[in-house]
Symmetry: C2
Subunit: 405 residues, 2 copies
């Protein structure tokens, strides 16, 4: 009996053409993160449920939790910020400020819908242990450099300070966070549900919309300027709220112009979160890219190159007696760093071998038959152009190495 072949809802397979695009973008981002001095960190998929609970506000209901065989309440990683806070508390001798990046899947029991999955990759970078606004500026500059590194041209980092909402409850802040989704009327309705009358609710919103940058924001903009961040890549937005409970200061959100899927990342200062794991007061600030949106926006902007497999050339097998000649060539090319495949079934006809290369989008095919061996050459076929040339081994190597990757 065949077992069913589906993945659970909201969980995905990434086949090579997709996965290669993901790897491509992740390499671009990682290069930027290193240039800004962030170091790699990984944490486990499972945490004690207690570690995660009481940290995310109303989103907490989406924690993927269960009881393990040993009767322990455990949960799948919900984000990478709370695990980071735990790591900081567990490693008091870490040199501060600690700058780390972390690229791992997170899990949320969401109702799967377009662009929203139960397993998704987050790309985070945070600076822990500095209350200086310069560290917020550095995070924002890094995020902007990542967006540029990926190739985005038209984007905007909206920036605000939670201080703008001083006196408002977490619930009210979460209502304002929905402004883009539900509009001003919607926000006023939500605020009214929290006990304000209509006039008060409108007044709150008007006051926020007319707010001036706080002193922290003024410093921030000065630092961004000194760091030579383009002024048209960021802007003050007093209505930006960010839904998560743990933010305490400057907050930010990155939007790609023309991309309708919402912001591709966001972050902010969270000076109290780590203190929930340790008595040592530890300020922190950081950014998180939602990788699914980032890649979707990058695809729309044509920043992900069309797929080509690692293999540069397929060495065909003329017949079994000549197999050793082909294998010898395979070995030589690989030693020279050229990604090479051999047709795996020596009994297969040449046209089937060529079809395999074509299906897999391998750019070149090399043929080594009795005529070639006699002449000491290789016939190289360019599958895109159909061009065929008879090359000596050294010419072959030169051609395969020089070819655009």
């Amino acid at each position: 009996m065949a077992t069913k072949i589906q993945t659970p809802k909201g969980f995905r397979d990434f086949l090579p053409p997709i996965q290669s695009g993901r790897v491509f973008l992740l390499e671009k981002i990682t290069a930027v993160l290193k240039r800004f001095g962030f170091e790699p960190l990984e944490t486990p998929a499972l945490e004690f449920a207690e570690t995660l609970k009481g940290k995310y506000g109303e989103e907490e209901k989406l924690i993927f939790e269960f009881t393990d065989r040993g009767g322990r309440e455990v949960a799948l990683r919900f984000d990478q910020t709370v695990p980071l806070a735990r790591v900081i508390a567990a490693n008091p001798s870490l040199p501060m400020p600690f700058k780390r990046y972390q690229i791992q899947p997170c899990w949320r029991a969401e109702n799967p819908q377009k662009g929203r999955f139960r397993e998704f990759l987050q790309v985070d970078f945070d600076t822990v242990g500095s209350s200086s606004t310069l560290s917020d500026a550095e995070i924002i500059a890094t995020a902007i450099a990542c967006a540029k590194g990926v190739g985005f041209n038209d984007f905007l980092m909206r920036i605000n300070d939670r201080d703008i909402f001083k006196g408002l409850s977490g619930e009210s802040i979460r209502s304002i966070d929905k402004l883009k989704k539900i509009g001003e009327v919607g926000v006023v309705e939500q605020l009214k549900r929290e006990g304000y009358n209509g006039k008060e609710a409108k007044a709150i919103l008007t006051k926020i919309k007319n707010s001036s940058p706080t002193r922290a924001l003024e410093s921030l903009f000065k630092y961004l300027d000194a760091l030579k961040v383009d002024k048209d890549k960021y802007a003050f937005d007093p209505t930006l709220a960010r839904g998560l409970d743990y933010y305490t200061g400057i907050i930010y959100e990155l939007e790609i112009e023309g991309y309708s899927g919402g912001s591709i990342g966001g972050g902010g200062r969270y000076d109290e979160l780590i203190g929930r794991f340790t008595t040592k007061k530890t300020p922190a600030t950081g950014f998180s890219f939602g990788f699914d949106r980032l890649i979707e926006a990058a695809e729309e902007a044509k920043l992900v190159p069309s797929y080509s497999p690692p293999t540069r050339v397929l060495i065909t097998v003329f017949n079994e007696r000549l197999l050793a000649e082909s294998l010898s060539l395979v070995s030589k090319l690989r030693t020279l760093g050229i990604a090479t495949e051999i047709a795996l079934d020596p009994k297969e006809k040449l046209d089937k071998q060529l079809k395999y290369a074509d299906n897999k989008k391998i750019p070149y095919v090399a043929i080594l038959g009795p005529a070639e061996i006699k002449k000491g050459v290789v016939t190289l076929k360019d599958l895109a152009s159909g061009e065929q040339s008879s090359l000596k081994e050294s010419e072959l190597v030169k051609k395969l190495k020089g070819a655009k990757f």
Copy 2:
């Protein structure tokens, strides 16, 4: 109240000095896998429990399974072979042979002990859709090239064919698999428990020890030779069994000389597994590195370089008035691709800034005070040698770029 800061037993944090070593080795291995024509694949952390069950034999009891909120029986990925089989069945139009690599964590409810964890990384590569022994040879050649790529010199791929055990039950094969652990006497005892008498059990073992290579193995060795794989890196071992149920043909296991933690990886042909997900007969063969053992063996062999952070240089801040000068330098260096950090607290004393760089093992520190600015230079301090030099910006860039990474 502080929340507890432990990870669940058998689950680990990888702090930057450790994680960097892991990334270093993974990059070496991935480069080899691409050179051999393997493409990247990822599958979800969670599968339906049904997908995993009945595939692993007695190890199945270690599957990390639970019921999700929707009442579905799900399980954490136990290995990457069964998910691969499911992917193949779910994507009938994939060009065959399909060569993929997959580097993701797996989870097993093991009793944690030295070198054995509940969450661990596997590095797999498999060829699906070819029954040719050449594809086994390619997998073995790839694994050996990976070991060399990491830097290992003394290692041995032990190779066998499950056909050697023809007529024996799965249980008997698993008994023989324990030969290294429990010795010949132990294996005979285990075989007796399966119903053989002492004489029969001994005869079975003697027969296996004296077996000659099968015809498939003879072809395999011929192919390995043609692929120029060093003859001292592999050997026929008729007692190699491999415990997993799904192997059907040639099997192999890689051992590092002098490393006591057991084989660092193994694999083999599994021609029946994919057929359990689809009616299409689909042969396959593949290898899996246990990354924890691989890295342990690599550390013992001094193949993992001592840790250095990505950051090449810390730009200090003389005082807040001169901060803009420092930030401008930071921006310039980063634009040139030099990984650069800025001292994040502009109010901090210079010696504290230097201490930060020292703690983090950042190799260089740049000082930009009033004297330097007046002269149009930067003072660069090499923290390892203590050497200090006064450099123009162009000299600074040259020095930082040329410095050994």
